[in-house]
Symmetry: C2
């Protein structure tokens, strides 16, 4: 198979991420967000909030990471962090399923790109490098902003408390973008007081 055929096999398969639904809704609450448009929104977050990143973070790499970070969900679906099955840390079974999905989906690409994309996804998942830590912060903070915008959203659905928000979400946002979390936490906290 030629290189372009492999690349388009991957790009056409990636299209399915637009049909993976997340718990979070759009800001107007009209429907659930899908993981494709969520990934776009996060890339825009990275461009706009670049000045919240630690010194040395490479925003172009963060954008690339965020563009592909959810592709494994084509096979595994999204596990909402506040759902009964959700946790702040993925289970062994979930991690194994996502690794198999990464094998299959990135494996559609020509070998050099498969390796590059897989490495970038693994770096995101490990959340140990400055780029990945910042990318994770954005991935965690965007649903918070969507919930604030639409009057509570999944917090009400899943009976989330302010303490759970801090332990499941806040720590990870603060790890990569402390000033950002200070600002968002204030808005979220005043919201919890009113419900």
């Amino acid at each position: 198979m030629d290189r372009l055929a492999q690349q388009f096999a991957f790009l056409n398969e990636a299209d399915r991420l637009k049909s993976v639904l997340r718990a979070t809704t759009l800001c107007d609450g009209s429907r659930q967000e899908n993981s494709g448009e969520h990934s776009w929104h996060l890339a825009l977050y990275a461009m706009v909030l670049a000045d919240q990143a630690a010194p040395g973070v490479d925003i172009a790499r963060v954008v690339r990471m965020l563009i592909l970070h959810d592709l494994v969900e084509i096979d595994t679906g999204d596990v909402p962090i506040h759902s009964a099955n959700g946790t702040a840390h993925a289970s062994e079974a979930q991690m194994a399923a996502e690794a198999a999905a990464a094998d299959r989906i990135f494996g559609l690409l020509p070998p050099d790109q498969a390796q590059d994309f897989r490495a970038l996804w693994e770096e995101f998942e490990a959340a140990e490098t400055p780029d990945a830590i910042f990318a994770k912060s954005l991935d965690r903070v965007q649903p918070v902003m969507q919930n604030i915008a639409c009057g509570g959203g999944t917090w009400a659905t899943y009976n989330v408390t302010a303490e759970q928000l801090q332990s499941r979400v806040g720590h990870k946002v603060a790890r990569g973008a402390p000033a950002l979390w200070d600002w968002v936490r204030t808005r979220a906290a005043s919201f919890f007081e009113t419900i």
Copy 2:
């Protein structure tokens, strides 16, 4: 208003791009694509098809450009290229409406970012720099691939001929990515022969 308040006013407004519908459907034909997920898919196209770009094209800039290229559609909507109102070149009225939308939407950002984003959007629209020419090629080729994947899609809807596809779409794809268009044209042409 503080800087983060301005940045989130913009990011929350950008969320509305997920509700702007395009003529093109998903690869499985299940529904129309929206401009947010389309922008994500194009960023992935740029990452995957980087080796189709002319020497000197900065893929990171192309990705940034593609992430924000459709934001004006929040105010103006998408004008399908093969529709009765669509043309390969935007009308004066459409360009004026998009400029006003850019003023409003990018104007939500802090002034330094408003200027940067606006300049990148204008560069994309002008399609004169190597980065913008390549970005435009991807924006034009992705709907072709979606149509091929789902059995004709908007070509059948709008009675598009192979000649119209070449004049409205092919020239622009070929301008930034000639080898890519050679490959895609063959697949599209064989499809037109069967309908």
